[in-house]
Symmetry: none
Subunit: 205 residues, 2 copies
DNA sequence: AATTATACTGTATATTTTTACAGTATATAA
DNA sequence: TTATATACTGTAAAAATATACAGTATAATT
């Protein structure tokens, strides 16, 4: 997906907010009014650019004929179909279509903090925390984590779900199963990517 | 909510389908084309009726200024605010307002089976099934349960969440914690109300 | 120094769209 | 029988809207 300029981003946000508020897209003139432009052509140009970059489609000749194809803040707010990503041993959990096992209709604000996707749990390393195989852990993409948080960490090509504990250069990834041992990493020697943290869990009975 | 005439219902469905397909509402002329009317006024009249009955709002003077307020089908799928009921020792879990601890925005179809409310778990009797205190168990109201299902049962004034097992006149309510013992009931002597069964679980981290 | 991309103003016009008004037809209720 | 509600056709005008064209200005590349 191509990057948006600041102004294009503003226009897209404006369209999304308007849609959210009224249920139908804005006209060029309304976008101008909202963003302070004085010519409808200003909005027109930005819309054309957004169309060219694949964020919206414009139905030519139709009033308000704007469809938002890809929201810029994406699925985070639209409360619809949240993707489920398999916790595979290799590679980072990305939202690329090929990694999406399925989608679940639910609201990303159902937990205290909103979240971006579900991670399907493999293995028993967190079972004493009541996290079973095939449970779906709701992950918020962030690198802002605290000690004690349940986090998704990528070490080289391996992705794991563990409790987080960091002291100076030492990172500990702590399981909740006495048969597993804590992973200790010296951050001066090895990189660790924090993909996100868990804000909740769901399980189908 | 007032009842719709057949034609009004058709027009509302047409608007919803169009919105779903294009992302913006139809014009009067487009509704006519879709439903075979020959005058834009036909659509206009139906829209005005729909507005008067509270199904849509029309922004006067705006093209395509239609907002669907209440979708005609399915208030069940609109994935909104699911009540959370505390698992209190006394009384049946009802959806009466005074028993609703809070509401969670989510879709009742997020699990394999749809459900009616969340029950907040008290105690540790199911901990070996990975069900912790304060977990929210999604309950579908039904008395159609099988052995092995996780069910909500009311015994006199006590409500409990346990595994279900019935043989003839004997009902066993089985915990998932070796420190708790199975509740055995002779149904000829004592009544047991099956309030529903669990179809899923959520937990906030 | 010239080119290109971004970001607009300002104007104009063809087209789309809303919306009012004048009718017709039919079934149901008073 | 006379209203009254539903369900349209047909027309037309005013208003809303998309969209093309002609410019201006500025910062970043080449």
């Amino acid at each position: 997906m191509k990057e948006l300029t600041k102004q294009q981003s503003k226009v897209l946000a404006c369209v999304e907010v308007y849609l959210n508020k009224t249920g139908f897209p804005p006209t060029r003139a309304e976008i101008c009014k909202e963003l302070g432009f004085k010519s409808p052509n200003a909005a027109e140009m930005h819309l054309r650019a957004l169309e060219k970059k694949g964020y919206i489609t414009i139905q030519s000749g139709s009033s308000r004929g704007i469809s938002v194809v890809r929201s810029q803040q994406s699925f985070e707010q639209s409360g619809d179909q949240i993707p489920v990503i398999g916790l595979v041993a290799a590679g980072s959990p990305t939202l690329a279509e090929e990694n999406v096992e399925k989608r679940i209709p639910c609201d990303p604000n159902m937990f205290s903090d909103n979240f971006d996707y579900f991670l399907k749990v493999k293995g028993l390393s967190m079972i004493e925390a009541g996290i079973h195989e095939d449970d779906l852990v709701a992950i918020k993409k962030t690198s802002d984590v605290k000690n004690g948080d349940l986090v998704v960490v990528r070490l080289e090509d391996e992705v794991t779900l563990k409790y987080f504990k960091q002291t100076n250069h030492s990172l500990e990834l702590i399981p909740a199963n006495k048969d597993f041992s804590t992973i200790e990493i010296d951050l001066r020697e090895q990189e660790a990517f924090i993909e996100g943290k868990s804000v909740g869990l769901i399980r189908t009975h």
